[in-house]
């Protein structure tokens, strides 16, 4: 099959990031084709947790997650019900006084930036989540955060793009990206005015100089237990462990699913290619969870899976124009926040391609920083 048609935009990758980009671009009236070597949401997106969360590790991360969350809230108005978007809020749990001080700092950080949050003490924490163990110091409730079933949401974004005229090419691997288009294994080309590389961990194979490492994670999902948890709950120790790149780490993280199942996370391991379940770290991860929520131990687990977070060296995604190939845009490296930040990423990419000023300052994500 040879492609003669020229598109305004070709998006490489139909994960949540590529899907969101395609939706935005098609809505904005561009002719779009979206390409994936397998299909919609078959990469990291299939493996993620779907927590839409405002983060505060850095101002740049805050700005992107907060912007993204607002955009997700807008999508939520029209997303089909089976995307399971639910505004359940996040509870950051403080195990001790030191972490409680961290919760307070976080509270102040959000407050000065207009994000609602509410301090919980030992008692109100357990009222909010009775399955947490006694004796935890307290926590911070961020009511605006949500969860979504992201494989369905990604498919919905692609369908939205198709309704606006986009085309899809699934089951073919892109081997080269140039300033004027993309090339497949057999030499077929697609010409495009703009190429958006949203290939997740595969992006580094397509664009020279891009370094994306795999940060492997494990998740466990249980059978249905109505009301076992009602918020996404994350330990505050997470902040200390999750971003240290040297060591493998685990953190307590549970999520109520719309299906009444409980999703248990999470682990982080660098530079492993093998997707197999690693029982050593799975053991550490689940035992960590029992420390906070002992009753989890007796729930029935139905599935365990792993995924690879696409991690950049500075923990910020690459969003924007390639410095040497002005028609190539990067939308990759979203690490453990790509479900959330896909929304902001897509809006920024669409604005840049249309020649508009993005709604937030996009310079911290500019790929020029790595070349």
């Amino acid at each position: 099959m040879s492609q003669s048609r020229t598109y305004d935009c070709v998006v490489v990758g139909a994960g949540i990031v590529g899907a969101a980009c395609a939706m935005h671009l098609a809505r904005d009236g561009f002719s779009v084709t979206i390409v994936d070597e397998r299909g919609v949401a078959t990469g990291t997106t299939a493996a993620g947790m779907g927590h839409i969360v405002v983060m505060d590790d850095s101002d740049a991360q805050f700005a992107l997650t907060e912007y993204s969350q607002r955009l997700w809230d807008e999508f939520a108005l029209t997303l089909p019900a089976d995307c399971d978007h639910e505004n359940c809020g996040t509870i950051w749990v403080a195990a001790d006084g030191e972490e409680l001080a961290e919760a307070r700092r976080k509270h102040d950080f959000y407050k000065t930036r207009g994000v609602r949050s509410e301090m919980l003490d030992e008692k109100t924490l357990r009222e909010a989540e009775p399955n947490l163990r006694e004796g935890l110091a307290g926590g911070l409730l961020v009511p605006g955060d949500s969860v979504v079933y992201q494989p369905r949401a990604a498919a919905e974004f692609v369908d939205d793009a198709i309704r606006n005229g986009a085309e899809t090419i699934f089951g073919r691997r892109v081997v080269m990206v140039t300033n004027g288009g993309i090339e497949f294994e057999n030499g077929d080309r697609i010409n495009a005015g703009n190429v958006v590389v949203a290939a997740g961990i595969g992006s580094c194979d397509l664009v020279a100089g891009v370094r994306i490492r795999r940060k492997k994670g494990h998740l466990v999902i249980t059978e249905r237990y109505p009301d076992f948890v009602s918020h996404q709950i994350v330990e505050l120790g997470y902040l200390k462990s999750a971003h240290s790149s040297a060591l493998d780490s685990v953190a307590f993280n549970v999520q109520p699913r719309a299906t009444e199942q409980v999703l248990i996370g999470s682990s982080r391991q660098y530079d492993i290619d093998d997707p197999a379940v690693d029982y050593e770290i799975l053991g550490r991860m689940t035992r960590r969870a029992f420390e906070y929520m002992p009753a989890l131990a007796n729930l029935a687990a139905v599935r365990v899976w792993t995924g690879f977070r696409p991690a950049t060296d500075d923990n910020l995604p690459l969003i924007g124009r390639h410095p040497e190939m002005p028609n190539v845009f990067l939308a990759a490296g979203h690490e453990g926040l790509g479900i959330t930040t896909s929304a902001g990423t897509a809006a920024i990419i669409a604005d840049l391609i249309a020649g508009h000023e993005p709604a937030i300052d996009a310079s911290p994500y500019d790929p020029a920083r790595i070349f």
Partner: protein
């Protein structure tokens, strides 16, 4: 709390194949561990049957247990693999069982196919209904339709009648001519494999039809009637229960986790029952549906091969012969095209997640359908809808992932 044990030969499945596999190595003083998820030994057929044959499994276990080098782990699920260790959940907690040699004898399950009404209460798998009755369900005086395909239907009908049920119809989807031809070809080899055919003689007073299949089950809270296509006609039959199964599917999940090659839904083995993975053997139904006698032979062959004992050529030859007959039998019960079209768009295919035929048929593979409709994500791990989808849509099932059975989260946690 978690426990670790080790054995030279570890066998998963205490059905006929697993029990036979254990015998050689145990007698030869090798350390042997026999794991089965059921509290009682014997697998699908011996565990189930009362009287003589049940005694057989019990007697075999009793004999094996006289040896100190034998350990039995009943009521224990193998749910995962970590290197050379099986991860198990037993009534006492989680156990890691390290093996030098592993024999997989995990048997088979029924193939269930969706049709409108198949999820109504009182619609069961045919073998499943038999198991329930053995577990104490009272069927005396109940009007029961048995339908689907395979030799199991007759065995089940015969058994239910012996428990006082009123079996009003046996509907076999395969053409009568095919089964007759197959049956006639067997008069020279009266194998256990086709014992069921013999049941038909005792079922003469029961209405038995071929080229026939249930197109719909009707009822509100529970089953009231079934509509059956019989040849060119359609008939509605009032009944209290329906047992419907479409022959058997090998349980290959454990072999898959180990990385054994699977072809056409069965574990690939050589004539000594060696899989494509070193130190792993497979015996009985997982290597292809061929019934009791082949399970006995393959178990014995695998046991000898795993302990490096010389093999009896007689067993190998006999097994080859049975497997040829089994191949013919399986072809004779090949599923007809019409069965692919029984479900309508609203018919549920995945019972765990309520995914319907209409939703699933929009996708071009099981993995995509699973991600978008959640089919196969429930507690049965796609055992039912995965096998059904293979037939309905021609999809390859998703590869097996741990845990292959639901387990307590604590069993995943292992030791500190």
């Amino acid at each position: 709390m978690s426990e670790s044990i080790k054995a030279e030969v570890v066998i998963v499945g205490a059905g006929p194949a697993g029990l036979c596999a254990a015998t050689g190595p145990v007698v030869a003083s090798r350390s042997v561990v026999l794991i089965d998820d059921n509290p009682r030994p014997g697998g699908q057929i011996w565990r189930a049957e009362k009287g003589r044959t049940e005694d057989l499994a019990g007697r075999m276990i009793h004999k094996l247990s006289e040896h100190e080098n034998f350990r039995r782990m009943p009521g224990t699920h193998v749910f995962g693999i970590d290197g050379n260790s099986l991860l198990c959940e037993s009534p006492g907690g989680d156990v890691r069982v390290e093996f030098e040699k592993l024999i997989i004898a995990t048997g088979a399950r029924e193939l269930l196919l969706p049709f409108p009404g198949w999820t109504l209460p009182n619609v069961f798998g045919a073998g499943g209904l038999q198991a329930l009755v053995k577990g104490g369900l009272d069927v005396s005086g109940k009007r029961i339709v048995i339908a689907g395909t395979g030799p199991l239907l007759l065995a089940v009908a015969y058994y239910l009648r012996s428990k006082g049920a009123n079996v009003v119809l046996i509907a076999e989807q395969a053409p009568r001519s095919r089964i007759l031809r197959f049956g006639l070809g067997l008069w020279r080899s009266p194998l256990k494999l086709v014992e069921a055919v013999w049941y038909s003689a005792k079922l003469l007073t029961t209405r038995s039809v071929y080229d026939s299949y249930v197109v719909r089950a009707e009822g509100d809270e529970r089953l009231r009637s079934v509509t059956v296509r019989i040849g060119a006609k359609t008939e509605t039959i009032e009944c209290d229960m329906l047992g419907v199964g479409f022959h058997l599917v090998p349980n290959t999940e454990l072999a898959e986790l180990l990385g054994c090659e699977i072809r056409n839904g069965a574990v690939v083995v050589d004539e000594f029952q060696r899989t494509t993975v070193e130190n792993v053997w497979c015996a009985g139904e997982p290597t292809g549906i061929s019934g009791l006698e082949s399970s006995l032979l393959e178990g014995t062959i695998a046991g000898s091969s795993a302990m490096g004992a010389p093999d009896s050529g007689r067993f190998l030859r006999r097994n080859r012969r049975i497997r040829r007959i089994a191949d013919r039998m399986n072809r004779c019960y090949e599923l007809r095209e019409e069965l692919r079209r029984l479900a309508d768009n609203a018919t549920i295919v995945c019972r765990c997640e309520d995914a319907t035929f209409g939703e699933m048929s929009k996708f071009d593979g099981f993995r995509a359908a699973k991600l978008q409709t959640r089919c196969g994500m429930g507690a049965c791990r796609g055992r039912i809808c995965g096998s059904a989808s293979r037939f309905l849509f021609g999809w390859e099932a998703d590869s097996a992932r741990p845990p292959i059975f639901p387990v307590r989260v604590s069993s995943l946690a292992g030791e500190d």
